[in-house]
C-alpha cells in the first residue's frame, strides 16, 4: 500500500480541480475535432481525482516532496563542560530562559525527571504550537553533559511553509543551534561573547559603507555593528 504524501487541504483541492477538469475534458472529447485534447484533459482530471481520493501523488514521490506530515521535527545537541546538575539547574531557573531560549515562551511542563529530562508543550494561544523536550546525558571522557533538544511543531503554512522559510534563511535548526550555543556560553563562561557596542572606524547606519574619504574623521561609531548571533554578509575581497 502506498503511503500518503498529500495533505488534507490539498486533497480536497485536488478532487475539486480534477472533477472540473474531467467535466470540461469530457465535453471537449464529445465535441467534433477535439477528441484528443478532450481525452487529455479528462485523463489529467482523473489523475487529480485519484490523487485527492488516495492521498498519494506519483509526482511528489518522484520529487521527494511530502506535504502530509504531522509537522516539523528538529533535533539538535551540544556538549557542555559541566555536570548534569549544573545544566539542569540553570535551565530550570526560569529567569535564565529568556537569555538563551527566545522561542520557548508560553509553555507548560508536561514531564520532568530531575537532571535528565524536561518536556513541555505550548499553551493555547502560543505563536507556534509545539511540543519539545530537552534530555541531559553524561558525555564520555569527562566532557560533561550532552544536551539534546527535540522540537516538534506546526509551521503556520505547513511543510510547504517550512520549505519556503528554509529558502529565506530562517531554518529552525539554526535557531535551536544558536540557543544551545548561548546556553553553553552561559553555563561554561558565565556570559555570551559579544562585539556589539565596540568601537570601529565607520559610521554604521546598517548599510555596507565604502571607504571613508581621505581626511574625513569619524567622530562616532554606532552602538550596534551587527547582531552578535548573525554573521555579517561576506565582504568581497578586492581584486588581487
Amino acid at each position: 500500500m502506498e503511503l500518503e504524501n498529500v495533505n488534507q487541504m490539498e486533497r480536497i483541492a485536488s478532487v475539486i480541480a480534477g472533477t472540473a477538469l474531467s467535466f470540461f475534458g469530457l465535453r471537449q472529447a464529445l465535441a467534433k475535432h477535439q477528441a484528443a485534447a478532450g481525452a487529455g484533459l479528462t485523463l489529467a482530471g482523473a489523475a487529480l481525482i485519484r490523487r485527492g481520493v488516495t492521498g498519494y501523488c506519483d509526482l511528489y514521490r518522484a520529487c521527494g516532496v511530502n506535504t502530509a506530515g504531522e509537522g516539523i521535527r528538529v533535533d539538535r545537541s551540544i556538549t557542555i563542560h559541566a555536570s548534569r546538575e549544573a545544566v539542569y539547574g540553570f535551565w530550570r531557573n526560569l529567569e535564565n530562559l529568556p537569555r538563551f531560549m527566545k522561542h520557548v515562551q508560553c509553555v507548560e511542563v508536561i514531564n520532568e525527571v530531575p537532571n535528565e529530562l524536561i518536556a513541555w508543550r505550548s499553551l493555547p494561544g502560543a505563536p507556534v504550537k509545539h511540543t519539545g523536550s530537552v534530555r541531559l546525558e553524561h558525555a564520555t571522557a569527562g566532557r560533561g553533559t550532552t544536551v539534546t533538544v527535540e522540537l516538534q511543531y506546526d509551521q503556520p503554512a505547513g511543510p510547504v511553509g517550512a520549505w519556503i522559510a528554509k529558502l529565506w534563511g530562517k531554518r529552525p535548526e539554526r535557531e535551536i543551534e544558536l540557543e544551545l550555543r548561548r546556553l553553553k556560553n552561559m553555563v561554561e563562561a558565565g556570559e555570551i561573547p559579544t562585539n556589539q557596542g565596540q568601537p570601529a572606524g565607520r559610521v554604521d547606519d546598517g548599510s555596507q559603507q565604502g571607504k571613508a574619504k581621505q581626511g574625513e574623521r569619524v567622530q562616532h561609531a554606532s552602538e550596534a555593528s551587527f547582531p552578535a548571533s548573525d554573521p555579517p554578509s561576506y565582504t568581497h575581497v578586492n581584486e588581487l
Binding site: 563542560h81 543551534e177 561554561e188 561573547p193 568601537p199 565607520r202 565604502g210 561609531a221
Partner: protein, 389 residues
Amino acid sequence: MRALCWYGKNDVRVETVPEPKILNPRDAIIKTTLSAICGSDLHLLHGYIPMMKPGDILGHEFMGEVLEVGTEVTNLKKGDRVVVPFTIACGRCWFCQNGLTSLCDNSNPNSQAAEKLYGYSASGLFGYSHIFGGYAGGQAQYVRVPFSDTACQKVPESVNDEQALFLSDIFPTGYMAAENCNIHPGDTMAIWGCGPVGQFAIKSAFLLGAERVIAIDEVPERLEMARKQGKAETLDSGEGEVVEKLKEMTGGRGPDGCIDAVGMEAHGTSVEALYDYAKQAVRLETDRPHVLRQAIQACRKGGNLSVPGVYGGVIDKFPIGAAFSKGLTLRMGQTNVHRYMKPLLDRIEKGEIDPSFVITDRYGLDCAAEAYKTFDKHERGCIKCVLRP
C-alpha cells in the same frame, strides 16, 4: 581615541574613533602602552582574509595598563601592567581546561560563520576579521579585553615593555612551533621564514635541545639576524635547490623537524609556485603552499612538520603521497598562548632570552599606516615594527 583601521586592500589608516566600553562582566579596558604589527596582519592588508568590514580596528599584539574591569573580574585592578594573548579564551570550556585556548568554544560571537567554513569554530581573535569574532584590535590607544581574568598576564617591573610585548603572540608562536616538532637532544631543525616568528622558532629550537638549526629565507637582513641572533646556519631560498641543499647539509638524511613559519603568502619562482600565483589570481586557490610542499619534500623519514604559518582556505597539489610514504607527523594551528605566557615570562626574567632583539623599527601609533608599508616591503631591513600610542 586613535586607532589603526582597515578600509580595503592596501588601505589602512589611523582614525579617531570612540573609546571602548565594558560590554560583559568579565571584560577589562586596557590603556595600550605598546603594540606591534604581525606578519599575519599583512594578509589582512593584502586582502586575503574574508569577512572584513571597512573601519575594523586591527592589531593583536599589545600590552598596557588596566583602566577598568567588569563586575566579575577579581584578579585584576586598575593600574596593573599586563600583556594580553591574541587568542581570546574563556578559560572554562573543555578546550581551555585542556590547554587548547586557541580552540575555545565560547569566545567567537560569530561561531556559525566559522562553522560554515571550517566545520567547527575555534576561538575569537583580536583584530582579525569577523570570521574570528570581529573583535576590535590593539593597534589603538585603548582596547576592550574579553575574559580578562583568564587573559591578562601581569608583567613585573624588571621586564620592560619591549621585552614583554611578544608574549602576546610571536614568542609563544615560535616556541609552540618548535615544541610541536618533538625535538630530541641533538636534532637538526629546518625553519622556513626568518620573520619574527621564525626568529623565535630558531631560539626556541635551541632552548628545547636542538643541536643545529638551518634557517631559510630570501631577505638578506632576515638571514643575517638568524645567523647573528639565532646562531643558525642559513640558506638563501632565492638561490633555489633548497631541498637538495638540506639533504647535503644533513648527511643525506634530511632535517628531523621542519617548521613552516611562512604560511599562505609564500614566495617562489618554481613552476609549481607560479601555478599557485595563477590559480590564486582567478580564485581557484586561496592559499599558496609553496613552502609547505618544500618542507614535506625535505623532511626526513619519520620526521615532524610543524606549521605555525597562517593558512585560511584551500590549497592545490598537496604532496600527501610524500608525507604518507615518509610517515611524517604534521602538527599545526593557532598558538595556545595562555599556557606559554608564564613559563616564557620566567625565562625572560631569568635572562635566558631578551625578545626585544627582533625589533628593528619603532613608530608612533599615528604613523602606523607608514609602518605597515615599511614592514610590508621590508624597507630598510625592517623585520619587526612596534607602535607606541
